[in-house]
Amino acid sequence: MSARDDILAAVRRNLPRTDALLPEIPRFAGGGEPAVEYFRTRLELMGGRSMEVPTVAAAEATIGELFPDARVVCSAVPEIAGTRRIEQVRDPHELHDVEVGVFRARLGVAEAGAVWVTQEDLVVNALAFLSQHLVVLLDPAAIVNTLHDAYDRMDCSASPYGVLMAGPSATGDIEGVIIRGAQGARSLTVLLLTDSTARNTATA
């Protein structure tokens, strides 16, 4: 018998007798604060930061102010040029020298201070991990309260890769001292596009 059939047969032989039904997951309300404010404090707790900018054009200017000396800014956002276009990148290794990576997130999760980003947003997934610093654009209307809400909304299986990212890379492996910038990004800045809500509702 193949290993597969052996294992499945052994599992079948040994299934525990329990009548545990698969429970429905109730709707949990979460924090109660306005989602955007809750998101911002939670993100800070996780080591990230957020700023409000009205538009994508303003976001581009903000990136310039935040990282005035950055030589390589790689952008996956069509409206933000950067110094390198992600669409031109053929192999993830080409991203080894990126100082600032820029992309959009689809969703924010307030209780976790996390943004949901997929392969479609990153184009090359390594952008989120080889870049020294990250700037993420997020529509504040796309912030949900709890992780339950997030899993209901985001269909985590729609893309081959999707990540809930809460702040930069971090470690507490040496005497529990939290250090940001362990192996991945050293910093994460979320730019909340305050005008996009109005625009989206206007065009909806």
């Binding site: 193949s2 290993a3 597969r4 294992i7 499945l8 052994a10 599992v11 079948r12 032989r13 040994n14 299934l15 525990p16 007798r17 329990t18 545990a20 698969l22 429970p23 997951i25 707790l45 996780m46 993830p92 290794h93 080894h96 209780e111 976790a112 201070g113 996390a114 184009v123 090359v124 997934n125 390594a126 989120a128 991990f129 080889l130 992780l147 997030a150 899993y151 209901d152 985590c156 299986s157 893309s159 081959p160 890769y161 999707g162 990540v163 809930l164 990212m165 809460a166 890379s169 971090a170 492996d173 040496i174 005497e175 529990g176 250090i179 910038g181 362990a182 192996q183 991945g184 990004a185």
Partner: protein, 459 residues
């Protein structure tokens, strides 16, 4: 019969350097306190525990079906699914995947399953360079030691230990013990290895049957580097990691990091559903005696474990003795109930490496009755005639005494008196390993029975 591990001797080695014990105790207990603060932010915590426990129980009761469903959906997404009966098969499969693609170097993120399989040593013996990408794991790898904690692998080390290690291995300044400098040194050393790796390996925290995807939780983003940079990603997944639906992730992701570190989520919670653009994805589903455990009416609930480490952080024995003292893949309370299932003779001492205080059961997010399982293992091992020597003489007397209430009461009163007069001689007589490195708490004025009788009279 396998020679048993000797946790008391291991603990003694750890306790020999006092500053280690004090820092370890402080850090690990600090995690427990952070966990409490994290849990307190969720009003429905107990409800979540109940949900998590029921979802896991349900999945395990229908595991054959969910495994088939996972395999079918993963395959549809272009993931190659392999099955391994045991550790040896797992290692052969992984090696074959790497060999067929000419892979020479590998970066791996934390996977207790790969530790369980002894994978790194197996691959290294076949000429493959293996680099741990998690900082704590890398520290342990460079020290040629296994992880001492399933979440924070090098938590038993002081910053001075790490500085000395890095000075030797990476050429850093041995006097610079600043964690920030040390982390930066490792970042600079690791990057070139990440960039030249031919393959990335990860474990998985959850595998979702209905979608055929799996989820990896890390704080460093190191699993994602392994998945995103090299062209090949191989994930080792124990068959007990299955959950039915994507929605169930909401319950588990909310609980995992809060239980482990107190934070609302790990920095990265990564979902893999098929190979990334331009990449190749393999999953190895591993049994390694899990199916056998499934058939043990007393012990199958341990398969619900999500490896959060909360039971370790709260355990008074783990905190004082350190993870390496268990001399096993899994340390702490979870190790005490997992390890004997792999080798009952070798790990027969572990269930006695516990005070049965029950704190582990209280913090477990999936409601495993850990203390009950420890006790059950003691019975199994006693039934094998494998009770540790130091305990056997005392236990026989204890068994006889507990069986007769009058004798118990007499013994209790006598013991109480004895404790006040000559406790050290009795407890620290060299036969009782637990006396080593421990001081007795102050003896209360009354025995419990006296207290109980008095209070019953009063009420």
């Amino acid at each position: 019969m396998t020679r048993p591990v000797d946790p008391a001797a291991g603990a003694e080695r750890f306790l020999a350097r006092e500053e280690h014990e004090a820092t370890h105790d402080r850090l690990v207990w600090g995690l427990r306190q952070k966990r409490d603060a994290g849990v307190a932010t969720i009003a429905e915590w107990e409800e979540l525990r109940e949900l998590a426990s029921r979802i896991k129980e349900h999945t395990l009761a229908h595991l054959d079906r969910y495994l088939e469903q996972f395999e079918a959906n993963a395959t549809k997404r272009g993931t190659h699914v392999h099955w391994a009966r045991d550790a040896a098969e797992h290692n052969v499969i992984v090696h074959e995947i790497l060999r067929a693609r000419g892979a020479q170097s590998l970066i791996k993120s934390k996977s207790m399953l790969q530790e369980e399989c002894g994978m790194a040593a197996y691959l290294e013996a076949r000429g493959i360079e293996v680099t741990d990408s998690d900082l704590g794991e890398r520290i342990q790898q460079l020290s040629r030691e296994p992880p001492s904690h399933i979440v924070i692998p090098a938590i038993h080390k002081l910053r001075t230990d790490v500085a000395a290690l890095f000075a030797r291995e990476l050429g850093t300044d041995p006097d610079d013990t600043e964690p920030r400098t040390l982390v930066e040194a490792m970042r600079r050393n690791a990057r070139p290895r990440f960039l030249r790796a031919d393959a990335g390996m990860t474990g998985a925290n959850f595998a979702v049957a209905e979608t055929g995807g799996f989820v990896v939780c890390t704080n460093e983003g190191n699993a994602d580097i392994g998945a995103a940079v090299p062209p090949l990603h191989v994930a080792s997944i124990g068959i007990e990691k299955l959950i039915p639906r994507a929605r169930d992730l909401g319950v588990f992701v909310r609980m995992l990091s809060r239980s482990a570190l107190g934070s609302p989520i790990t920095q990265y919670t990564s979902h893999f559903h098929g190979p990334r653009r331009g990449g190749e994805l393999h999953v190895v589903l591993v049994d390694n005696r899990r199916s056998e455990r499934l058939g043990q009416p007393e012990f199958w609930p341990v398969l619900k474990c999500i490896r959060c480490g909360a039971c370790m952080n709260t355990c008074p024995v783990f905190r004082r003795a350190g993870g390496l003292s268990y001399d096993a893949t899994y340390a702490g309370p979870i190790g005490v109930i997992l390890d004997p299932g792999f080798d009952r003779s070798k790990y027969r001492e572990l269930p006695f490496h516990s005070s049965l205080c029950g704190s582990c059961s209280d913090v477990c997010p999936v409601k495993i009755d850990i203390a009950g399982q420890i006790y059950a293992w003691r019975r199994v091992i006693a039934g094998d005639g494998l009770v540790p020597l130091a305990k056997r003489a005392g236990m026989r007397a204890l068994g006889a005494t507990l069986a007769r209430p009058a004798a118990f009461r007499a013994a209790e009163a006598a013991a109480h008196a004895a404790l006040r007069t000559a406790p050290r001689a009795l407890l620290y007589n060299g036969l009782n390993a637990w006396g080593r490195g421990r001081e007795l708490p102050a003896v209360p004025e009354q025995t419990f029975r006296e207290w109980y009788l008095e209070h019953r009279r009063m009420s």
